[in-house]
Symmetry: C2
Subunit: 201 residues, 2 copies
């Protein structure tokens, strides 16, 4: 068996090099500055190979998002829903504030606004994130902190949405307190029964 | 007095033509397809004039946003805070769903992700929108529906954020029910006292 046919062989190494180069280029130059030429040069993979396997910039973005989606997402487990929701929203806030991660994450959001292929990839990324994060809501229901029947993904959306709204729509800063308030707002809504289920006690 | 020095004279007509042409080009081609050449041709204003007065694409966007910010924003006054907040969120949802308005509004959000000048203009646009919309919260406080000291702009942010999050981040559809739930969630949070003020009752 040739080495480029084994999992982890030459083909996988090429893919990994290209995905890492795409993330690095996005961090440095953003979506608007991403080119196949730069990714090819940075990864050491020939330009014609990049075009053949990825098609172009949008294919590179989608594949890099797939890699980003496999990064560990440390869903908090603090023992109560308030702490868990605050933890999730602070993870989001902190990710965008991080000098390494922030520009890449922002570039994905920008890319998805311009490219339907990137939008589909980002949609899949967030569907997976919502599903993982929903664990904190399901545990809260099991502990009796939230009403049964609450829409777990919707609690997560409502909790994180104000952070994204400030960053990418209203272009306002996001403080730690802003993030906590967003989490607390989602919790109050879930407890009131407006996100599915019925109001608590 | 020469006609091009009167308010509403030649200079104002040129500006209006260029701003209208920018909005029309954004509706048809989005931010990525906006060029000074196309705006000049569409408006009948010479390209060198457009470059001299607007500087380029980012200046055109900022000026068009200024025009968009002057469009009537019919803040609801239904007599209760639930109806008013739902009305505001449905206005946002409906605006993006509108075949004429939606693409232009989306182009502004996309532009602000790529251009600091457009981001500043969009920030100012939303600051004005928050301030106008906050009237519904202030009226609710006056009627005793919400606690005194509630952060009116934050109630508006929390209400509209899930719509923007679905549209521009998670790339999910937004139903009328989704919009109502977002409004109801903000109301529940405001009533619980987590958006400033203290809890009701």
């Amino acid at each position: 068996m040739e080495s480029n046919r084994r999992p982890g062989g030459r083909s996988a190494r090429v893919r990994d090099a290209v995905r890492q180069a795409t993330l690095a280029e996005l961090a440095e130059h953003g979506y608007a500055g991403l080119t196949v030429e730069n990714v090819a040069e940075r990864s050491g993979v020939h330009k014609t190979t990049v075009y053949r396997r990825w098609g172009g910039v949008d294919g590179l973005i989608s594949d890099a998002l797939d890699l980003a989606g496999q990064e560990p997402w440390p869903v908090p487990d603090t023992g109560d829903i308030r702490g868990d929701l605050r933890g999730i929203v602070q993870l989001v806030r902190g990710g965008f504030a991080d000098p390494g991660l922030g520009p890449v994450s922002s570039a994905f959001v920008a890319a998805a606004m311009q490219s339907p292929e990137a939008a589909r990839a980002l949609h899949a990324f967030f569907a997976a994130r919502h599903e993982q994060s929903a664990d904190v809501v399901r545990r809260a229901v099991a502990r009796g902190e939230l009403p049964a029947g609450v829409d777990a993904a919707e609690v997560i959306r409502v909790a994180v949405a104000p952070v994204y709204y400030r960053l990418f729509v209203a272009h306002e800063p996001v403080s730690e307190r802003d993030a906590d308030r967003a989490a607390d707002a989602a919790l109050a809504a879930a407890r009131a029964g407006v996100l599915g289920g019925t109001a608590e006690g």
